[in-house]
Amino acid sequence: MEGNSVTDSRSANYGAKPERTDGGSLQLSEEMRSLVLAPETGNSFTALLELPPNQARELLHAQGNDDAPAYRLLHPLNCTPTFPSNAALLERAAVFSVFAAENSQETSSIRGNLVGNSGEKVKQEPVDTDSNPNSSDLNGNQKSTKRKEREKKGKGLTKKSKSMANETSDDGEKLPYVHVRARRGQATDSHSLAERARREKINARMKLLQELVPGCNKISGTAMVLDEIINHVQSLQRQVELLSMRLAAVNPRIDFNLDSILAAESESPVDNNFPSMVMPLMWPDVQVNGNRQQYQQMWHFDGLHQPVWERESHNIINADHSLLSYDSPTNSVSLLSNQLKMEL
């Protein structure tokens, strides 16, 4: 079994081993105890992420049971713990996540028991433990790709986990895999892990979409949210259709003057805004004046009835200069730009 081989290899590396009587207890030196007990108060699992995965893994390895006051901790200098022969425990410990982003659901007893100050000390431990066949037992390439994916996953990662990822790559002995923490009672094989990572990514995207689409925040359940998203997209597409129909109805002629666009844009005082090119260009023969009555007289459209100004258009009217002719694109341009600015 994977666990046993781990135990053996690890034991082989170290000299003094405290005797292990049962699955739980361990004799520790004073030093180690203080080392280990200190971080008990520092409750963050995420601090664990500061550690390079091998050392952290050992910490976790050590954390067999909650009740055990003794920690199996790999100490660089003298005593070394033997690892639990408890297969389930080993299995769990062997699968270790460097990214705590998703660990909100994790009920592992390990969390909250370690780290904090011990982090620094543990870091200095020799990295040789990664000769650990544990890694080899796990799914190599998949994990490394997973790590890359996780590194890319901006939203999900905490900053610490990101730095951890960087650290792992900077380690002298580069771990080619990412060890993923298996949640309590969940399968640990490669497929389900990959599945889980993928699902979490999708859920993160879904959350983003929920924030984007109005009215989605209160809905729970993927299907409903997707429903809302679909409705939103459909309504937007319909709006585009309607608006283009509207615009098509406005003018019998779509007539543009590219030169005046560029000229107007450069001259326009409002550069921070919709360029100004809009209005005069669509309706070159339109004269826009200062008041409504005149509009109705002055609009000339072939074969079309007189236009009805909307309320917003009055803003155009309020501007100082009046658009007399198409020759003065600047004026018309700035008028419209003022209006658009207000609307924006």
Binding site: R205, V233, L236, S244, L247, V250, Q306, V308, E312
Partner: protein
């Protein structure tokens, strides 16, 4: 607005980027409209509407500069029809249509193979006495939920241009971007439409 807090800063930057997007879109749209009107003098109202919509869509897609799948899909779909080809070429530059045509087949073939594979896999499952398994799966609540989600995602795939060829994760990202662009497009078009006179005929 003088001392924006963290949140406000976020909103401000978002608004600025949205505004820039809209400006770029507007420029390109106007250019497209000009091209349209230059080519044909007399158009029916439906033709005009199509031209307007097409140039708007293309303008929006071109602001993405080929970074997103939906924009590429939109452009390639548009250039498939011969009527639009000239517009596409002129709007985006001739090199663009070449880029699209070379990119698409590879993507399409990859995904087509993927789909075929999954279909075949399902058939095999059913053949090998997996019918019972399939039925059992259908009855549980989670699988019902899964089916619903799957149906929805299929609908979404049809809505987003080029969606049929994307896997779920990419689909989500593309949808996100697509919604943002659609919003900007609708905003600009609405302002445009509001700024012009309406007619009662």
């Amino acid at each position: 607005m003088c001392n924006p807090s963290g949140n406000q800063l976020d909103n401000v930057s978002r608004r600025n980027s949205a505004r820039m997007l809209k400006q770029e879109f507007l420029k390109k749209w106007i250019m497209g409209l000009q091209i349209c009107s230059a080519s044909k003098k007399e158009m029916s109202i439906l033709e005009r509407k199509k031209a307007i919509k097409l140039s708007a869509d293309l303008a929006m897609a071109s602001t993405k500069n080929g970074t997103t799948n939906w924009s590429l899909a939109l452009i390639s779909n548009a250039s498939k029809e011969n009527d639009n080809k000239t517009l596409v070429d002129q709007m985006l530059g001739n090199h663009h249509s070449e880029k699209i045509s070379t990119k698409r087949p590879s993507i399409v073939s990859i995904f087509r193979n993927k789909r075929v594979a999954t279909c075949r896999g399902k058939k095999i499952l059913k053949k090998r006495g997996g019918i019972r398994r399939a039925k059992k799966m259908a009855s549980s609540a989670t699988s019902i939920a899964k089916r619903l989600v799957k149906k929805r995602t299929q609908v979404l795939k049809r809505l987003v241009p080029g969606g049929e060829y994307m896997d779920e994760l990419n689909l989500m990202e593309e949808t996100l971007d697509y919604i943002l662009s659609l919003r900007a497009q609708v905003d600009v078009m609405r302002h445009f439409a509001n700024a012009t006179p309406k007619f009662e005929s």
